[in-house]
Symmetry: C2
DNA sequence: TATAGTTACTAAAACGTTTAAGTAAAGTAG
DNA sequence: CTACTTTACTTAAACGTTTTAGTAACTATA
């Protein structure tokens, strides 16, 4: 049988109220001798309070939900790690959920988190959204969205990165390296990051006097498989083509298939990824990529979420983090200027 | 204000007991008309029960803890994913904890999970153990350990893999490829998997009539950094050396540094990893590795844990899963037999 | 027609905390 | 010495469920 506050109270010859105060360090009201006596018994008996019971009355569980699309994508893994570290620092626990990039599963998880009375949710949404569906979901706790924008009510804050500038710089880099045809390979365009990157892609082309062709914008999924299959679908020669990929997984798949077809990277074909995941520096040729501060995104999201839980001011918080280009072998050809 | 069972009861003109039965589908005792009426109101009002309150009386939270050393290691990521999938299937939520491979942090998490009243814990322990310290920790819920063995009380089951045979086959493979000096590069030998692999390594050498030299057993950490630094420490020529690495991260670091020093893999030097993480097939040369069923390990662990929660039979459950060797480029030299 | 059994409910305790309000005893001011 | 304040407590309600034991109203049996 687990030991409770009542047992401690009885052993110490005081009321549970007194023990409770001591446990929670609200001891203005308690004599030093009592504090000492009770603390000793608590230690002896190895008493720890039952958080469920506490939460019932305080209405705070010190628990958060974290929903990400795919924990096997190192980008989200880093976010998760950042989130966990910050939560831990602030004394919160995290319920962990993988949506498998499926909106319905995401919604199922949100509901289940609410039932479990989490104080708030940090959400990296599934890629394909559905505004009408989302607006219908009844949510009574704050959500902070990270990376991708979503349409639920109660989105109280968001942590994003500057995808537009990130893409702009990446495409510019390819152009400066002399690649002629610049191809944008992206996951679903439903997400704001994808759209923003497309915008950056287009602007960079424009600014350097290049025309925009729809056939150079290839839409698929954010998976390695998709990257591997791209070149099969292209009907033009790949010499002097620069690929700007929506994430590193696509880029890695693409490079793999390019190598298999004996294309030379970066001499003939250039490849830039997005995310700068850990693998990017291990593959050969190593991958030039737009680095997102993924760990920081997770860390800051939880920080923001808990801040929101503190103040109940209802103003929306938004934070946009910067990217930077990590220059590696996959675009490292002799500059042709 | 959140709607409670009392609100529903009042609206339906029945007692909370009746509503409770309907919510939990124990309706033998309830008339069809009442069931229907109450269900309708529940739906209308969007009522969902408060799990905290429920848990207070049932003493079950339908919540588990998952502790792993490092979520950035894809091996553990896969375990986590398998765990989450199975937990989700069985209606459990998971508190997620990274121990950073630090025993003290692990213990802190165990205590915090117990305070949060999880029903059980699935633990992939930190590498460096301390039996005395662990035996002192007061644990009142079942733990299933995965991969690594630990000394806490209440370890009710474990999922391991056959590290001995895995290592034996890997080393045999190197020998059969004609590498002369077989070097074992491992993380801390405190863990049972490390010890078992060492045993397999030695047995394979013995069985093929090779001598065992201590200088061919290099102990460090299970990190890529360590792998990168190994060859600096060796004072013999690396021609015809076969490295058997304790995990893929070490192997990947090693290959990276070998390439930098212009050693030819696999022609001069062979490398075998352990874990078969996702990256192994993406690097160049792709890595021959002992594949662990990591996803399955996570999945089976949760399955076992929940099974243990069901029966309270106290017999210890142990399951040993098989490995297999994935043959790739890093050992793919012409066979010299 | 009395009795037993069944059906469809309800009352209230219990889970382990926190906290607002109350109180007796001791200390202080005038 | 009285009245007020402070100190160090306690009492009991509340949080939102589940569950045991009870009960009133029917129905079936002999």
């Amino acid at each position: 049988m687990k030991i409770t506050i009542k047992d401690i109270a009885k052993l110490a010859g005081v009321s549970t109220a007194t023990v409770s105060k001591i446990v929670n360090n609200k001891i203005d009201d308690v004599s030093d001798t009592t504090v000492e006596k009770v603390r000793k018994i608590i230690k002896e008996k190895n008493y720890t309070p039952n958080y469920l019971a506490r939460s019932m009355v305080t209405k705070k569980t010190k628990t958060l939900g974290l929903i990400i699309p795919d924990i096997r994508n190192p980008f989200f893994t880093d976010i998760a790690k950042g989130a966990e570290d910050r939560a831990n620092e602030l004394g919160y626990s995290i319920f962990f959920c993988n949506s498998d990039d499926d909106l319905e599963k995401e919604i199922k998880y949100i509901n289940s988190l609410i039932e479990k009375q989490v104080d708030g949710i940090m959400l990296a949404g599934a890629a394909k959204r559905n505004e009408d569906r989302e607006r219908k979901i009844n949510i009574n706790i704050p959500i902070v969205s990270v990376d991708r924008n979503v349409y639920y009510e109660r989105i109280m804050g968001s942590i994003e990165i500057d995808n537009y500038t990130g893409a702009y710089i990446a495409v510019n880099h390819l152009i400066s390296k002399g690649y002629e045809r610049i191809v944008f390979v992206t996951g679903p365009l439903e997400t704001k990051p994808s759209m923003e990157r497309l915008r950056g892609y287009k602007k960079a082309l424009e600014d350097s006097g290049k025309k925009i062709y729809n056939e150079n914008i290839i839409v698929g999924t954010y998976e390695r498989n998709f990257g591997e299959k791209i070149i099969e679908t292209l009907d033009y020669p790949l010499s002097n083509v620069g690929f700007f990929c929506g994430n590193d997984l696509i880029a890695i798949g693409l490079i793999k298939s390019l190598k298999e077809k004996k294309y030379k990277v970066p001499e003939e074909v250039g490849v830039v990824g997005f995310d700068d995941i850990y693998i990017s520096l291990l593959i050969s040729p190593s991958l030039t990529s737009v680095s997102q501060p993924s760990y920081k995104m997770g860390y800051e999201s939880i920080d923001l979420l808990i801040k929101i839980l503190g103040n109940n001011n209802e103003k929306k918080n938004k934070k946009i983090l910067k990217t930077r280009l990590i220059n590696r072998e996959s675009t490292n050809r002799i500059n042709l200027d």
